[in-house]
């Protein structure tokens, strides 16, 4: 395995551990956060807060680095325009997130906790991604 792949494996593992520790692999917790007008569970806000603080520091380290440790350069999104795709896509994603209380990260992480349930979600999600790939290829 390359240094890049090993780094990504460590990154994914720490990410998955964080999701599980923060309760994000429990759909009830995620839907509890989205249940703002009912029995609201603020836990997800603390998860988001913890992640944002660490990443805000990481972004401040980037300008002082000539390049990432195992890559030739930084490849981060540069667009700043708002378009229908961004907002429409995010809106659809949010509906799906609300229906089952799962987003992509917890979907994969939950494969280790409730494999049968998580596999159905992940398979449908990948099918959705395939659908978008097909329509984009045709247009």
């Amino acid at each position: 395995m390359s240094a890049r792949a090993i780094t990504a494996l460590i990154g994914g593992t720490v990410f998955g551990a964080g999701l599980a520790l923060g309760g994000m692999t429990d759909p009830a917790r995620v839907r509890g956060f989205l249940d703002l007008f009912g029995d609201w569970d603020p836990t997800l806000a603390f998860v988001m807060g913890g992640a944002l603080i660490v990443m805000a520091i990481a972004w401040r380290i980037v300008p002082g680095m000539a390049r990432p440790l195992f890559e030739d350069g930084f490849h981060v999104p540069t667009r700043s325009d708002l378009d229908v795709k961004l907002i429409g896509g995010a809106a659809l994603f949010g509906i799906g997130w609300g229906v089952a209380g799962l987003c992509p990260g917890p979907g994969f992480a939950a494969l280790a906790i409730a494999p049968a349930d998580a596999a159905i979600f992940v398979a449908a999600m990948m099918a959705g991604m395939l659908l978008v790939r097909f329509t984009e290829r045709k247009s």
């Binding site: 990432p68 700043s80 961004l86 907002i87 809106a91 280790a112 990948m126 790939r133």
Partner: protein, 154 residues
């Protein structure tokens, strides 16, 4: 884990310390990806890359390694905490949700990790708008389902 069992006044079910610690780990993971590979740790984009469906610009081997790491990390926490027993929705809502999440994250260029964590922490306007949008539709979806008595979690 008992240290992390602290609760918030008024919210007996919330787990703020475990949530914050988990969030910090997610931030560290995203920082590893950014400072190590120079890439955004957006799970939807990395999963699409692993499956050969576009997405992240990282190499495919690394994309697979990251995706495989997600359940590995969750497994470590599940074993350390003596097992997690969350309740999931049934097959039909899981399929509907999965399709919407897959389609939406590809069209909208990201999910909770890419837009919510990585983009918002660098104050990307697109990510802030995307995050506010999926939070709003997520909140509306749960509110509508609860109002109409649609229970999905057993």
């Amino acid at each position: 884990m008992t240290l992390l069992a602290f609760t918030l006044p008024g919210f007996p079910d919330a787990a703020p310390l475990a949530g914050f610690a988990g969030g910090a780990l997610i931030g560290i993971a995203a920082a590893i990806m950014l400072l190590g590979l120079g890439r955004i740790a957006g799970v939807s984009g990395i999963a699409a890359k692993a499956a050969g469906l576009g997405g992240s610009g990282m190499d495919r081997m690394s994309a697979w390694a990251f995706v495989i790491g997600l359940p590995l990390g969750a497994l470590i926490i599940a074993l350390a905490s003596g097992g997690l027993e969350p309740s999931f929705a049934g097959p039909i809502p899981l399929i509907i949700a999965g399709l919407l999440v897959g389609v939406g994250t590809r069209i909208g260029s990201g999910c909770t990790s890419g837009h919510g964590v990585c983009g918002m922490s660098r104050l990307s306007v697109r990510s802030i708008v995307a995050t506010l949008t999926f939070m709003a539709t997520g909140i509306a979806t749960v509110a509508i389902m609860n109002t109409t008595g649609l229970e999905v979690l057993s």
